[in-house]
Subunit: 440 residues, 2 copies
């Protein structure tokens, strides 16, 4: 007998919907797929409501993605940026959490299909997020991992740290050079954060630890195809971010499309090549399969097209939110794929569902932009609050306080604060472990 | 070009010894293989000496193994029980750290062979530890993982937490029962710690988190073939430990050999079977391959036979220490495989090497037993200091203080203290992540 994979025989039909056995009663059932910022906020905003909430996620944890780059660069441990979904919802009596992988949606039968069962919904919130994408170059994935999950982050951490370890023992000058060259493809927030954090790691954190190499001689290149880094920021802040990166020792290459990625490094559009043992991908994302599950139109990044009430066309009981949705704000601009937007959409979906249940009219979704922050390194960041624009230390302070504040759970806040305080005082990083998934 | 695996072609001869390029000069070279308690203490005790120290480990971290069970049961994060070897030795100017896998030793040429190079030694310290062992039943390894490495601990953590997740969605009563049955094979310190921690997890930590199962109804069985748990303790403390375990809800089965282990659970000598989706192995260890590398005799557990100076027969420049050595104390008893013994052997080896270099006589190794501690759970432990024997809360307090004290690095001490303080006050665990090595 196997308890994990084959509880329900693979060949037969799926079992009947088992809603009754999961939560008895006749209250409307709201099923939320995905417990990121959007899904979790939808669930939490239904706390007081007379509905049954079922949250389905294939992982057991909610991830504080804005700090994931710190896990990838050995500043924080995975448990410091991730919290068990069950724990967050443990006191919400109307919420049930199921750790399952969703494989499809039957909008006629109003069921969500997981690998093991069908679950009936009256209202459905899809908040399944996005993955990084290679836009037709999926073969690059092994050579240039992206950063979306804890597993991605620990893999990137192992690659970065292993490159220094290998350089320390390398006898060949050319190989050592490639091992000490770090290439980050993509100049958005993730690319900027990774580049800054790797430069600080090499120049400050581990600089005493090696005997044969000088880790501070490592090259860190941030390669961006467009005109500037942080393209969603005002141009003056992009310029400031570039200068702060250069101050940390990062080489910023603009207007430089990458045409090849493999284990030797990257190839550029002008025919030149950069030899690197550690290439990281931060150049684009692709939404989850929600649009396919629903059979609704999607934009180029795979996001499901939704109306001003976040419903895909023809589905008033289904809300698509967060990075999975191609939503347009009142200003006619695309709602950005950031955590505050996902949270607002989750809160909105909860309110809209309650309005529908009560037969009240549903107001359109309004995105409120409270500002735009990107961090670069110790004391380095940029912040755009419309009229007020900050950079350097003031921006970094705002960034640090905002992220501490929004970290889920007091516990994590204290632990992260202590880790940052130590790192700040001592230029140290706590999580410098190379753990290999193949190494038992 | 690949930078990680194939720097040196696999088919050709190994390159020449490259000692000169790794550390110039004519000082005696001490090579230490393994950076556990023994190897690290040997290196640190050579800090002031006029020698070149090379520490080789296939991992980049020193592991505080006595707390590893807390990682396996979601109480601590990996980075809280592991510290980069480089960081520990970063201020020791005569020490070089190489992250490589040792594959053999040529005692005639006085070289250590790694996958990439040969390294010359004048003195060699082998401190490569032990792995858990299935004693002829290697097929049990997949069904019943043991606990020696960080990867083991995160694998066990995922199995324990996944069992609860699966039980929450299981429709079949029998399958749910097997998912809520945890079997630990082996009643030594690791088995006792795991059983106590799993019982506390099920009964205290996660008890509010589920809707369909009662996690506190989980069965935790500790199965021991011998007469009592903690066989190296005095019998009265074994009895106290058993009663404390039972107080936490652990079923302790003594004189119960396990005859079968597979994905359905375990089979017992009396022909009965226990269905369990989570079987953990704590029933025995096997030393590393050091005896084979050296071509010297080993005992049944694979430990290299050494004389009273910790030298294998005929090798005065080689010291085998820690769990790799079958060393006999002055009292004629085997030196136990515990961290304090390994540390003492490391310190001894450093002193003996310096004595040999100075042509001073080498005193035999004396093991000083400062006491024997085993923890069971919150406020539950046993401690044997010869005449003074403690159990319950006083023993737990001594255990907690001792382990905090010996954790390498002030940083980790603060973080672990905070995690314990929180866990004590709130019955909470920070590291409840199911991360899957196959899940990108």
């Amino acid at each position: 007998m196997r308890y994990f994979a084959d509880e329900i025989p693979g060949g037969g039909p799926l079992p009947k919907p088992q809603s009754a056995s999961i939560a008895e009663g006749h209250r409307p059932r709201v099923v939320i797929v995905g417990a990121g910022f959007g899904g979790l906020n939808a669930a939490m905003n239904l706390r007081q409501a007379d509905v049954d909430v079922t949250v389905i996620d294939r992982r057991n944890y909610h991830l504080f993605q804005p700090l994931l780059y710190q896990v990838a660069t050995a500043g924080l441990s995975p448990a410091q940026v991730a919290t068990p979904i069950r724990r967050i919802l443990s006191r919400q009596a109307n919420a049930t959490v199921l750790m399952e992988r969703v494989e499809g949606i039957d909008t006629k039968a109003q069921t969500v299909e997981t690998s093991n069962r069908r679950i009936h919904y009256d209202y459905l919130v899809i908040a399944t997020g996005a993955r990084h994408a290679y836009f037709g170059n999926d073969a690059w994935a092994d050579a240039a991992p992206g950063l979306k999950t804890i597993a991605d982050a620990t893999e990137i951490r192992a690659r970065i740290l292993s490159a220094f370890e290998r350089a320390e023992v390398a006898e060949d000058e050319k190989i050592r050079g490639a091992l000490l060259t770090f290439v980050i493809v993509g100049g958005g927030p993730t690319g900027v954060e990774l580049a800054g954090a790797i430069a600080e790691l090499a120049r400050k954190v581990i600089v005493r630890d090696f005997r044969r190499i000088d880790s501070s001689s490592a090259r860190v290149l941030l390669i961006e195809a467009g005109e500037r880094v942080l393209p969603t920021m005002p141009p003056c802040l992009s310029e400031k971010a570039k200068r702060q990166l250069e101050g940390l020792g990062v080489e910023v290459l603009l207007r430089t499309p990458v045409t090849q990625c493999d284990e030797a490094g990257v190839g550029l559009a002008d025919g030149s090549a950069i030899e690197s043992a550690c290439v990281l991908w931060a150049a684009g994302v692709m939404a989850s399969k929600a649009a396919k599950w629903l059979g609704v139109p999607a934009d180029r990044a795979g996001r499901a097209m939704v109306d001003e009430k976040l419903n895909p066309p023809g589905h008033e009981t289904i809300f698509v939110i967060g990075d999975t949705a191609a939503a347009v704000g009142e200003d006619g601009k695309q709602v950005p794929g950031v955590a505050p937007a996902a949270k607002q959409m989750g809160q909105y979906a909860a309110g809209a569902i309650l309005a529908r249940i009560a037969n009240r009219p549903v107001e359109p979704f309004r995105y409120r932009n409270f500002g735009n922050l990107a961090t670069i390194g110790r004391k380095a960041a940029v912040a755009d609050f419309g009229r007020v624009r900050l950079s350097g230390f003031p921006a970094w302070l705002v960034w640090g306080l905002a992220h501490l504040w929004f970290l889920v759970g007091f516990r994590n806040r204290v632990a992260v604060f202590l880790d940052w305080a130590f790192a700040y005082l001592r230029y140290d990083r706590s999580a410098r472990l190379i753990t290999d998934r193949h190494d038992r």
